[in-house]
């Protein structure tokens, strides 16, 4: 009997390891809680501020999304404030889609070279270069855009040189490394036996890449492009430096324009908290936030579809 009690005591005593175990759980769970709290707080804050435009200032959502003139301090002929965000929304989407369209073929080409054609050179030269490109601060990209891309655009296409086209050029270089390195990951996750099976059937290397490897990597590639688009959509500083910051509907690719982010960064310091001008900017921020949520959702959907295959 005594030995049973002893054993029970021994087994019920919390050892040091068991206590550490609880500690570890507490620490990691509180880290998780903190992050969730921050995300919820950000969404809540941006939403409360951004929705104030519609609830406190009684701007109609339709006017906000479809209006073409942006001048929150001024009221128009009907006595309504001019808070049409369409030019910025169009500017943001245009610049995002254009830079993704330009960057995707380059990224896929680079990734195919790095992973399929010349893995050695890819690992030795291209990988570090890509990583370096990721690490360059966006103000440097913006500055190069301002001093190189804008003058070239001006010389070639006329106009001031500021506009969607310059912004696209700068963003293309900025998102290229992201899309490239994620495409490399996508290619790497294609099992080796797909390639072997194709080669053993007498397919050439190019046929193997084109018909088998790229097909199998498509979900991953699409995720890479959407990630790049999310980055392009949210980029503020570099774009602001080269786009011209005119809150006008862009008539052409070389007209000065603006994006949601560029209007936010230029405007937020010049408005008073609580005023319509300030609230309208928060509404733009809300649109940005919602769009990044949409990008995230798309990425998740693609990922799930890829797994189901």
């Amino acid at each position: 009997m005594k030995s049973t009690e002893q054993l029970e005591q021994q087994l019920k005593r919390h050892s040091k390891a068991a206590k550490l175990e609880i500690w570890g759980k507490v620490v990691s769970f509180s880290a998780l809680l903190l992050i969730v709290a921050v995300v919820v707080a950000i969404i809540g804050f941006v939403a409360s501020k951004g929705l104030a435009t519609f609830f406190s200032n009684h701007v109609s959502l339709w006017d906000f999304l479809s209006g073409k003139s942006w001048n929150p301090g001024v009221t128009d002929a009907h006595g309504k404030p001019e808070v049409g965000a369409l030019p910025m929304i169009v500017g943001s989407f245009l610049i995002t889609i254009l830079s993704a369209i330009v960057a995707t073929p380059f990224a896929i080409g680079t990734a195919v070279f790095m992973n399929e054609i010349s893995p050695n050179k890819g690992a030795k030269i291209l990988q570090p270069v890509t990583e370096l490109l990721v690490g360059i601060p966006s103000v440097v990209y913006g500055f190069i855009g301002l001093s190189v891309v804008v003058p070239v655009t001006r010389a070639v296409f006329g106009g001031s040189g500021f506009g969607i086209l310059s912004g696209t050029c700068v963003l293309f270089v900025m998102i290229l490394p992201t899309v490239t390195s994620m495409s490399v990951d996508a290619l790497r996750s294609v099992p080796r036996y797909y390639r072997e099976a194709s080669l053993a059937l007498g397919a050439t290397q190019w046929q193997t890449i084109y018909k088998v490897v790229l097909r199998a990597a498509t979900p991953g590639m699409m995720t890479a492009v959407v990630f790049g688009m999310a980055r392009a959509f949210g980029e503020a500083l570099a774009v602001q430096m080269v786009i011209g910051n005119a809150a006008l509907m862009p008539g052409s690719l070389v007209d000065p324009a603006s994006t949601l982010t560029s209007v936010l960064t230029t405007g937020i310091g010049n408005t008073v908290m609580g005023s319509l001008q300030n609230n309208a900017l928060w509404s733009l921020a809300l649109v940005l936030l919602l769009m990044s949520l949409v990008f995230n959702l798309i990425i998740r959907l693609i990922g799930r579809k890829g797994r189901l295959q």
């Binding site: 099976a197 053993a200 046929q207 295959q309």
Partner: protein, 274 residues
């Protein structure tokens, strides 16, 4: 030990283990001469000299790491970017180990099936039509016909004929492996190389696969790497025994199993090691 007195202990005495298939009805279709394979500086195959008879099944057996898979993969140049292969691989009188050989055309004639069933993430139909389409076959009727005959030859037609457009990834392991065989024979190769095709399969699928191979022998020359001695005994006419990168013995299967000339072979086929 007195039982194996007649078995040669000294492998050096048997430095050429080339067997000309004695049966004139099955002339040599493929042979290797002075074949060496190197991974970097490490020699994986030293002297693999073998002749393979047409429309017969030749089994390559040997312990793990003996080089039998490396040897097999060299035969249709799948080792090109991985290893250095020197020596001659004579296919119907042409050395296919020359740099100016079109390996893609050659691999159409010398097909391969791998250890792990590896269908593409495409439909059953598209898996088989894959290599044909690469070669410019676009005629629907021609494709339909080849898909059907290939699946019939691989003994898979009756199970999948109503599901040709379903994903090949939904097939069971044995079905997937037979699909891979159907895919390989769709381009009508001369020779079929199989690298332990049954090692990932259950016994029933394995036995079905062996039946299929015995059927296929009529149309193709088959070289199969196998870990399974009984399998070699059941299906092959000739057996080559690999050990440490060398072909120690090559003869008719019955000879290898009943009257091996080298002690190591005797130990291996009787299950004393490996």
């Amino acid at each position: 030990m007195f039982l194996s007195n007649d078995i040669t202990q000294n492998t050096e005495m048997l430095d050429r283990h080339v067997v000309q298939p004695a049966d004139p009805q099955h002339p040599t279709i493929l042979s290797t001469e002075d074949l060496h394979v190197y991974y970097g500086k490490k020699e994986a195959i030293a002297e693999g000299d073998l002749r393979f008879a047409s429309n017969q099944i030749t089994a390559l057996i040997g312990p793990s790491g003996s080089g039998k898979s490396t040897f097999l993969r060299s035969l249709n140049r799948m080792n090109d970017r991985i290893a250095t292969v020197t020596g001659r691989i004579m296919y119907r009188g042409v050395d296919i180990n020359q740099p100016d050989i079109d390996v893609y055309e050659m691999r159409r004639r010398v097909g391969m099936v791998f250890q792990r069933p590896n269908p593409f993430a495409k439909s059953i139909y598209d898996n088989i039509a894959f290599a044909l389409r690469l070669r410019g076959v676009t005629d629907k009727h021609a494709l339909d016909e080849i898909v059907e005959t290939s699946l019939k030859q691989a003994a898979l037609w009756n199970q999948v004929k109503d599901d040709l457009n379903k994903s090949a990834l939904a097939l069971s392991g044995g079905q997937a492996q037979r699909l891979c065989i159907a895919r390989a024979i769709a381009v009508k190769p001369d020779i079929l190389l199989l690298d332990e095709p049954a090692s990932a399969l259950d016994p029933v699928s394995t036995s079905q696969l062996e039946d299929t191979l015995l059927e296929l022998k009529q149309h193709y020359s088959i070289i199969i790497v196998t870990h399974n001695m009984q399998q070699a005994g059941r299906i092959s006419e000739y057996t080559a025994f690999f050990n440490q990168g060398r072909v120690l013995e090559y003869d008719t299967t019955s000879h290898i199993f009943t009257n091996p000339q080298v002690q190591v072979t005797s130990d291996y086929v009787s299950g004393n090691f490996g």
